[in-house]
Symmetry: C2
Subunit: 451 residues, 2 copies
């Protein structure tokens, strides 16, 4: 496949065609481009140009484009469309994508758009989906699925399935429910086709079926689907009724978003921002963490001030402040990151004492190794006195062990409290470790060197 390449030339060409209102040229230029690629193009246009394109193209294509756009551009475009125009887009979409878009509309618009929807069944499904928390299996699922009643015979089943499959892009599985809509199992297409048409479904279905509850967290759904290599999973409500289905493409998005969020948190970026966001958006996401870091720096300054006595007698101690700080920060982040990933993979199951003991040993091993190297360097490089060198060495080991323990404890603690442990890898803990590292350093130096 020759991959689509978004170039400045292509954007300029499209902008020119829009300005000249050359609709035929535009349509034919965009005809062979995939909707996901057109979305990338539109993300680069201004709001008026974007709206112009959406109004120009067919709604079977524009509906898909809308789902792929950046949220701010989509909002701007939808703001330029009438309730009827929006409803036309939604009519083309699966219920989950349609509900996501409706969820972004201003309150007064929702009612009007819904009432303009042509397919009343579709409208009802979309309204149903609006009730679920965005951050749950219910918020992810679509209503499109193929289900059959256990009391039907094969003939009825095939007939009904055919009608249902019309609305379902990818069938994946046929789910079996009872008269109360409760999920009973699934059906293999092969069994269905090789059985007499009078056989009842209840005699041939497979009762073993993976499913998730409608209130399950998206991360949990992702974990289950990826662990068991599922391409689709049915969703049931509190009393076991089949209410929807989640497909793997949505889960891929969940996994990617989750990973981006953790990564940004570790890097000290508090909002979901992208490289091409405005300077204002980027500042909002970055400045708070820098401010926390600065407070840490000022805290460290206060600590250093307290230990002024050392400035005169052992000025060399001050030179090793960056060493203590960097080491404490690095060790803390390493420890936290391993715990955060362990929690995400379920490979850590809350056994906090065992983990702390392990980190203690690990900290000692790493700390002694680094302290040994340090002693060599300080002896030959800085020609510091043995007393000072040993003081710094002992402080180094203590700081490392301490940072390892804090880095391990905090994410486990946050996780138990129901807070995302990934926060612990961000600047907040690094900063605390920095400051604490300096405090430990000077305290040990004060005791050992007696200044």
């Amino acid at each position: 496949m020759i991959p689509f390449k978004l170039t400045d030339d292509l954007i300029a060409e499209i902008e020119q065609l829009i300005e000249d209102q050359k609709d035929t040229e535009l349509s034919s230029l965009l005809e062979d481009i995939h909707y996901a690629d057109i979305a990338e193009i539109i993300n680069e246009l201004n709001d008026d140009e974007a709206t112009y394109l959406i109004k120009l193209l067919d709604s079977d294509k524009t509906s898909d484009i809308l789902t792929e756009l950046d949220e701010d551009i989509r909002e701007a475009i939808l703001g330029n469309l009438s309730a009827k125009e929006i409803a036309e887009e939604l009519d083309e979409l699966d219920t989950d994508d349609a509900a996501d878009i409706v969820g972004e509309l201003p309150k007064d618009m929702v009612q009007r758009v819904i009432s303009e929807l042509e397919d009343k069944e579709h409208a009802k499904d979309i309204v149903d989906l609006l009730r679920y928390d965005e951050n749950s299996a219910g918020g992810l699922m679509a209503k499109e699925l193929v289900k059959v009643n256990e009391n039907w015979n094969v003939l009825t089943c095939v007939k009904e399935m055919r009608a249902q499959a019309e609305n379902v892009t990818r069938v994946h599985s046929i789910y079996v429910v009872d008269d109360e809509e409760k999920l009973k199992g699934r059906l293999s297409l092969k069994d269905l086709l090789t059985t007499s048409t009078k056989t009842h479904i209840k005699d041939i279905y497979i009762p073993k079926v993976d499913y998730v509850n409608v209130n399950e967290k998206p991360e949990e759904v992702a974990k289950i689907m990826s662990k068991y290599d599922l391409e689709a999973i049915p969703v049931v409500d509190e009393i076991g009724r089949l209410v929807g289905r989640i497909t793997i493409d949505d889960i891929v998005d969940v996994i990617k978003e989750e990973a981006e969020k953790d990564y940004q948190m570790a890097a000290g970026i508090s909002q979901d921002v992208e490289a091409d966001d405005s300077i204002w958006e980027l500042t909002k996401a970055r400045l708070p963490w820098l401010f926390i870091g600065m407070m840490g720096g000022i805290g460290a300054a206060s600590i250093i001030n307290v230990f002024q006595g050392a400035f005169v007698t052992f000025p060399i101690l001050l030179a090793f402040i960056p060493l203590m700080q960097a080491t404490a920060g690095n060790v803390g982040v390493q420890s936290s990151a391993i715990v955060v990933q362990g929690l995400a993979n379920d490979s850590i199951k809350g056994e906090i004492w065992g983990r702390l003991l392990k980190e203690l040993i690990l900290g000692l091993v790493n700390g002694l190794a680094l302290a040994f190297i340090f002693l060599l360097i300080s002896h030959f490089g800085f020609k510091t006195s043995y007393m000072v060198s040993f003081t710094v060495g002992i402080a180094l080991v203590t700081v490392i062990v301490n940072a390892a323990l804090i880095g391990t404890f905090v994410p486990i603690f946050l996780n138990k409290r129901g807070i995302d442990p990934a926060i612990a890898t961000g600047p907040f803990i690094t900063t605390s470790n920095d400051v604490l590292g300096i405090l430990i350093y000077f305290s040990i130096a004060k005791v050992l060197l007696n200044f």
Copy 2:
């Protein structure tokens, strides 16, 4: 679904049953447990217990278990199996999973295992796959797929498809090739079923089909499949012949591994380690980065030593070393992380000057905001002289701008050189920024305060 929960009790029970060699109890206990869950259990056992279970259970289940195990346990188990036993496992697996396992075997074992394989076609496919680089589309793909010749008619096509589909767990798509095996397009099942049996495939197939080249990087394949919401993609060789197929479950693994790798790199962990790895493994992954950090700290100590003059006249300057260091580190990581994600999403397209300008402005905005707050705090809190306060403030802005520029430049530069830009978010750049930050700080202070 009641999710499977791995408990210490369950492990203890299984270990006891193994010790007592109660095979029937073991088999019935494990019968209803999913292979991915059994793999989790086996990951907790010692090598002998693990081998015992693998030898006990049926190879249609153990083959799947093997693919899910941690690499070190799998290696230990395979070391305890004969060539014939390993071949029996491989016979049950899809070609991609089988090839992955063969790839891990010792060289002298490969030949023997391959010759023990029962299905010669399967053996040939596995051998074919072994030639591809693990880190390419060829290394990910399976040979199992459904393909039809464009010159066949519908009747032949349906007959052939049925035979092929036997070996394919999930069909996804029917691919159309010409006499030279070149990929021409795909076939809709619906069209196939609603067309006269004498129609030739070449008259009904859809020529538009997404595909990837066998040498494509897994990350690229992941990007394409997730962007276009594909559940499977065909793989072609250099001259366009259809050679395999990649399914979304493998891509989910690629996305997760990629995210874990980036996250660990940002946290300064150099190897793929997990929380339950040995202290030795963890030390190997962590110590190198701590060592780099320590070298940075020692570099910083040398710089501070050079500026000893300040120690006497402006001791308060020393107190703000941690502030400079932490801020430089934090800004650098933020900038790098945004660039790294932008590169991963293709939202940054190499336009380096524009990005640097943006970061310059962003650095100035953030820097001036922080410097302003700093001036207030230092005036009221530390009662430093105006001259010193302004010096620190100016240094702070300079350090922030500098770190933002370096944090932006380095990942773009690495990426152009074909090096994974995520390295830039790790301790290496943080450390460089730390040291450079301190150098800038003291240089500015020396000029402005003239010590």
